[in-house]
């Protein structure tokens, strides 16, 4: 009987391939929701709230001299990736361990816990990136939000997506029931959406809340993305913010691998 000696470093790609095949059945539904929702926010907030904000000259100063729509657009891009990657790292990860048990199927092949975690991260980069790209295409249709800066912003959004995916994956691996996910959505993701700097500068918030808002990776990503789309890039600041986002990815990945190894290879 023939043998196949595993080649190194292909594991994460194989896991991503599995994600892709599963996704092919659901992509229409997914693309619609991950595209429509930010569009509704953009129209509702950008046009509705924006007409009030832009009428006030001191507001425009606070926003750094851009219109409200232009201010909100990069925030929507990054929060779209955040919300998508966060949710995709909750129920699907639990399903892989407890419901369909696909991860247990992987465990009896040459794939390792590291492959599964890195494969998930890779897939989240693809999902977060394509969702952000779809939004940026829509943004490019409007003169006020059209900018070359949308291109690097898509990558920033993908990076922020992974920065949420990996720590949440670590949480989901050890979660016993899926009840925690609703709480995580309500008390972490939605508050970040509202208070993470997507819709207004967090300097408007009390100092304590500002510190809380700066802890997760979202605000850092939004600041960097906004720098690109409005054309005011502070390079050292950008490097610092992105390094901080990467730190979340690194910690989330290491903890996920350790926990998954314990689950799959007791």
């Amino acid at each position: 009987m023939s043998n196949v000696t595993p080649r190194p470093f292909t594991g994460p790609l194989r896991v991503a391939e599995w994600h892709l095949l599963l996704y092919r059945r659901f992509w229409r539904m997914n693309v619609m929701s991950s595209f429509l929702q930010p569009m509704l926010y953009l129209l509702g907030l950008g046009v509705g709230v924006g007409s009030l904000v832009d009428a006030n000259t001191s507001s425009t100063d606070t926003l750094g001299g851009v219109s409200y729509v232009a201010y909100v657009a990069p925030g929507l891009l990054v929060t779209t990736a955040m919300a998508l990657c966060a949710a995709e790292s909750m129920w699907p990860v639990m399903g892989g361990l407890k419901w369909q048990r696909s991860y247990h199927g992987f465990a009896t092949t040459p794939l390792t816990a590291t492959d599964i975690v890195l494969g998930h991260g890779l897939w989240m980069a693809v999902r977060g990136g394509t969702a952000a790209a779809a939004v940026s295409v829509a943004l490019a249709l409007f003169p006020e939000t059209r900018s070359w800066g949308l291109i690097p912003t898509v990558f920033v959004a993908a990076l922020v997506g992974i920065a949420f995916a990996m720590p949440i994956m670590a949480f989901s691996i050890d979660a016993e029931m899926d009840g925690g996910f609703a709480a995580l959505q309500r008390f972490f993701i939605i508050p970040l959406f509202l208070f993470g700097g997507a819709f207004y500068p967090i300097t408007q918030l009390p100092t304590v809340v500002q510190w809380l808002a700066k802890f997760p990776p979202l605000w850092h990503g939004v600041v960097v993305a906004r720098g690109f789309t409005t054309g005011n890039v502070d390079w050292p600041g950008t490097a610092g913010h992105l390094a901080y986002v990467c730190l979340w990815i690194a910690v989330g990945t290491v903890v996920s691998v350790r926990r998954l190894r314990r689950k799959l290879y007791p």
């Binding site: 043998n3 080649r7 194989r14 059945r25 369909q100 247990h104 199927g105 092949t109 040459p110």
Partner: protein, 308 residues
């Protein structure tokens, strides 16, 4: 003598305070069909998980294909096929997608994986369901798909953890036939079961496990010869009178076993034992003389019936 394909020495698995496997020695030769028998909780599945290299032994040594399982897990996993107790199929994907995608995990090139998928669909009698979503398959079909999937890497050793639990009799026979064919092709089989007929059908050699230890080892026939009498007399008494009636039987045959629903009398001459029982005034509602089976060996060794 050839090197054993599987060589476990004083293998121990503990989970915290609980000892699931308590120092077992097992050797399996290439081409053999080997069974682990035991009641629920005997340590069969923990042993299988160690052999599958998804669970590290707490103590002892485990060598497979001459490699140390503790350090060569991924390399060993590349050469074995695993049919787990619970299916791990992707229920939202089609039958053939489950197969060729699994081949990719073993780094098969896509074309090769699809070629093998076609063959395995034939083998598992699932060609007509190739495009069906797995969710819609019957239990027996899912089991056959699990086995087909475990063969995608052309393994030298196939591990099956309770392969036919929960299947109807027809589905079990189809499955046994497929496993028998694999054995004829030279694939080494290691399986766990708590069905005696399954063990007798499939295993060249087996061990009986109880409470993490091996309590007997041999071929099905040799175990029956060693531990049971030639025949067994099964007596059923009116409900609630088992103890009272069985008291009348003392001394008949070599040994007796009082079960909740019947009394077993182990004797080389079953008919003779029945005559003796009648002479003593025992009035069973029904009586049956049969050949001793592995089930009897099991009762003797572990003191309880297999499916509890």
């Amino acid at each position: 003598m050839t090197e054993p394909l599987l060589d476990a020495h004083r293998l121990v698995k503990r989970f915290g305070e609980f000892t699931a496997v308590n120092g077992i020695d097992v050797q399996v030769q290439p081409g053999e069909a080997f069974g682990f028998l035991g009641p629920n909780g005997a340590g069969k599945s923990s042993t299988m998980r160690m052999i599958a290299c998804v669970s590290a032994p707490t103590e002892g040594s485990l060598r497979m294909f001459g490699l140390d399982a503790a350090t060569h897990g991924a390399a060993i996993r590349a050469r074995i096929g695993v049919v787990p107790q619970l299916d791990t199929l992707d229920t939202e994907l089609s039958v053939q997608e489950n197969l060729w995608l699994y081949g990719r995990f073993f780094d098969l090139p896509r074309a090769e994986s699809k070629r093998r998928t076609k063959e395995l669909l034939e083998f598992a009698q699932l060609s007509e369901r190739a495009d069906s979503i797995v969710d819609n398959l019957s239990g027996g079909m899912k089991r056959r798909l699990s086995i087909a999937r475990s063969l995608i890497n052309e393994p030298e050793l196939l591990l099956l953890d309770e392969p036919t639990t929960g299947l109807d009799p027809q589905a079990r026979h189809v499955l046994w036939d497929r496993l028998y064919r694999l054995k004829q092709q030279g694939v080494t089989l290691v399986l766990t079961t708590h069905y005696m007929d399954e063990a007798e059908q499939l295993c060249d050699r087996l061990v009986v496990m109880d409470q993490g230890r091996i309590v007997a080892e041999g071929s099905p026939r040799s175990l029956i010869e060693q531990y049971a009498t030639r025949e067994v007399l099964e007596l059923r008494f009116a409900a609630g009178t088992n103890d009272q009636q069985s008291a009348l039987l003392s001394g008949i045959g070599q040994r007796q076993e009082v079960l909740p629903d019947r009394v077993l009398v182990y004797a080389d001459d079953g008919e003779g034992a029945l005559v003796q029982a009648h002479d003593r005034g025992a009035r069973p509602e029904s009586a049956l003389v049969r050949r001793a089976s592995l089930e009897d060996v099991f009762l003797l060794l572990t003191g309880r019936s297999l499916v509890d």
